[in-house]
Amino acid sequence: MYDFAYHRPKSVADAVALLKGKEEARPMSGGMTLIPTLKQRLAKPSDVVDLGGVKELAGIKVEGGNVVIGAMTKHGDVATSADVKAHIPALADLAGHIGDPQVRNRGTIGGSVANADPAADYPAAVVALNATVTTNTGKHAADGFFKGLFETALGEGEIITSISFPKPEKAAYMKFPNPASRYAMVGVFVAKTASGVRVAVTGAGPSVFRVKAMEEALSKNFSSDAIKDIKVPATDLNSDIHGSAEYRAHLVGVMARRAVDKANK
């Protein structure tokens, strides 16, 4: 990796101050994405601001109808949290299938959501559950937060502090892992919430997206049968050595149906 200055602030305010005005400064949470990027010399930050010392960022709380997860909460902690398991078991299940134990014990929800990897799992949950992303400067609604390949609505120096997930009536996530990396090649999160049914797909396209046709059908009849004839167009979907766009489009249907069945169990 290239040289950089390393900081380990104790508060969000200090972290924000350290990031401010430095164009090439980067926050670091679990480092599971950032450190490999540095090692491969794909990034050359001037400063790395390690959020690991910011205590206020970690932890899980239940606030009314929401489960609020601090940005620095590790995947492993979400997977095993009694609160998450009680209120949104689908989210615990999703977190428990990210990477491997080492990754789950380092990687964080804030880092994953901020990174907006097209193959990451959390974005599907954020969008399907209509979560709110809270940052040091304000709040972002799920729709509109993920803007494209590794692109979010976060501004310069803006850091995620927590993510608030409304409790759904029913929800489930089905992941078709990329055979090599085991990131999501297609991941479908289906949620039946007070405000309607949402179906969010990760892995298949350049960024997480909703399947409105499925949402409408499921709103009328929340069963896998209701969506069995709905096809997602392959246009604009990702294509690589593991999956053609057509295959991914097909898998969106399969995973969505399986997710609905799982949610209904």
């Binding site: 990796m1 593991h242 053609s244």
Partner: protein, 794 residues
Amino acid sequence: MTSATGIGARVVRTEDKRFLTGTGRYVDDLPLARATYAYFLRSPHAHAKIKSIDISAAEKSPGVVNIFTGKDLVDAKVGGLICGWVVKDKNGEPHKSPPHPVMAVDTVRYVGDTVAMVVANSYDEAKDAAEAIRVDYEVLPAIVDLAKAFDKGAPQVHAEAPGNLIYDWEIGVKADVDAAFAKAAHVTKMDIVNNRLIPNAMEPRAAAAEYDKGTGNYTLWSTSQNPHVLRLILSAFVLGIPEHKLRVIAPDVGGGFGSKIFCYADETMVCWAASRVGRPIKWTAERTESFQTDCHGRDHVTHAELALDKDGKFLALKVETIANMGAYLSTFSTAVPTYLYATLLAGQYTTPLIYANVKAAVTHTAPVDAYRGAGRPEATFVIETIVSKAAAELKMDPAELRRKNFIPAEAFPYQTPVALQYDSGNYPPIIDEAMRIADYAGFEARRAEAKSRGKLRGIGFSSYIEACGLAPSQVIGQLGGGVGQWESAQIKFNPTGNVQVITGSHSHGQGHETTFAQLVHDRLGVPMDQIEVVHGDTSTTTFGMGTYGSRSLAVGGSAIMKATDKIIAKGKKIAAHLMEADVADVVFENGTFKVAGTDKAVPLAQAVFAAYVPHNYPLAEIEPGMDENAFYDPANFVYPAGTQICEVEIDPETGIVEVIAHTAVDDFGNIINPMIVEGQVHGGIVQGVGQALFEGAVYDKNTGQLLSGSFMDYTMPRADNFPSFKLGYKVTPCPHNPLGVKGCGEAGAIAAPAAVMNAVHNALAPIGVKHVEMPATPLNVWQSIQGAQRAAAE
């Protein structure tokens, strides 16, 4: 002798203590004072002319000690890397030998070809400087598609190999085979690809070197499977450092699978540059470099035809293969698709006539050479898939068709039509045992049950034969091999009675330190903890050939047995003297020399002590000391054989293939340590299933970029992809080596791909899928199902 730690005992691997407690010592762990670090600049292009290399800015980069390019090697008259096996083509002409410069001079020929070496005070500084090297490339069209390598107009890899052809080789008489086909009642035809694999040893390749100005001695630490052979190549062909001035040490090595047999550019450069830099140099490949520059394996395109009579007896087999050599001919590359492949095409069968034609091609890809099984997995895949295909076409049970054609037990030694003479074997009981363990009889019920869950279940056989422990040296020489194929052993007692067992073979994970100690313990009665197995250092071991081709026990272990014979013979003379008995009356039992019918006894340790402190010793007849050397050159290959049965379930909606059960019954001859053998079989099956379902090196057909260049895209088999394996054994001891052993290191990987793919085809046949190529990834299987559905709709 039978004991808790002798031959046949499940002794826990003694070397694992250091491997599991982080006290193993690998090349990268070496603390070398004042070390410098090397980084190799690799070609980003599959094919390009190097118009110029400007190192001026890089030389000024902080911490840089030296930068070398291909031109420096030309100026220093360094030789090219060699291919050590001369294969003669159809017309008796030696294969084409395009030059293989250690670093590219004017042309790069694959992504990863070495362009420059930067030596700096730290690895990061070397990398920084490498980024400052300006190489002006003129990018040229590349050929990476093997099936198109011989096409007219295909980009040419070497002027010395017109049409990209290295050799056009054959075995068997084509006219005889054609005549048999003309009379056949049934002909099964098949076109298959044997996918290219990337070895991925856990420890990447690494090298470190030091030059002693005072003595002129070089020491090279290298992740080598055969340090003596590496030294020989570097001395005699590449660097010209006299053999006695070069010490090669292969310390603990974390896996090789063949990829660490060869002499690469990297260790050559590290060694060469050590004297120029005047400080030690260290280099360890990054994983991406391993993907790009380790020799890859397999990579064949094959058309095969099997002729059968009306009863299902095989009449003849015809095979045409194009084998990929990559961009340059690596150390043993030419032998792999010829003498290690086509000579195996008889398999376990009495097929009387076989013709194989192999054309080797160069392409703009990484060099291809031996990889676990080397040629034999490719042969087994051809035979065992075409036999199962024939059974399916004839609506015969695949086991029945195999049985009908097995070489009968009484026919051994059996001369095949493709040069090899199988020494021993008894195949029918193996398949019977495998079918019993796999509950073949219950399969249709399991298939029906799976169907009720929406899954397609299939079962597949693979009855493999392999030839390992290449031998004898004379024959290898006649076939063009450039080295001997014997092995050395030395048994060196210390005066206090403990012993060093020095072997010319090398362990890089196989557990030789345990297996070989068991042999010596069993034979000489020395306790296990009094035995140290020494290997991997040209200064402390006798010249030896190293480890590959499942040879270490059959050849290296046999050499150890010969050395123990010499120890016992000498010990008898000493003991006879001490007991005042006639040598002819002395017997050796349980570690003690005795005179039959008396209570006179001399433990081996006492004889050893007498040999080193010869106060009462027959000095007129024998020399002091207890230190014996032996060399063993086998009479023949050894021929392990077995049957694997794989059972899979396929989810037709997603295309995911799951291995539900995998049975392997092997004949490895006598077994020294069943636990180590199981480990070898398990690992082999995993690699074989890896080839069938997961692994595949993919180059972009246009740009020649390696698309599967990291673990993000190259699918390694993982523990959760597998059920517990069910293993069994049948034993026909090898008749020509003193231990009666055969090799077990590659069998799993040799047999598994065909077993898996036959199961996949068996599962998919009911829905009309005719053929799925390896690796049977979800995408591949799904597309095959789609294709079958489209075909059915038309």
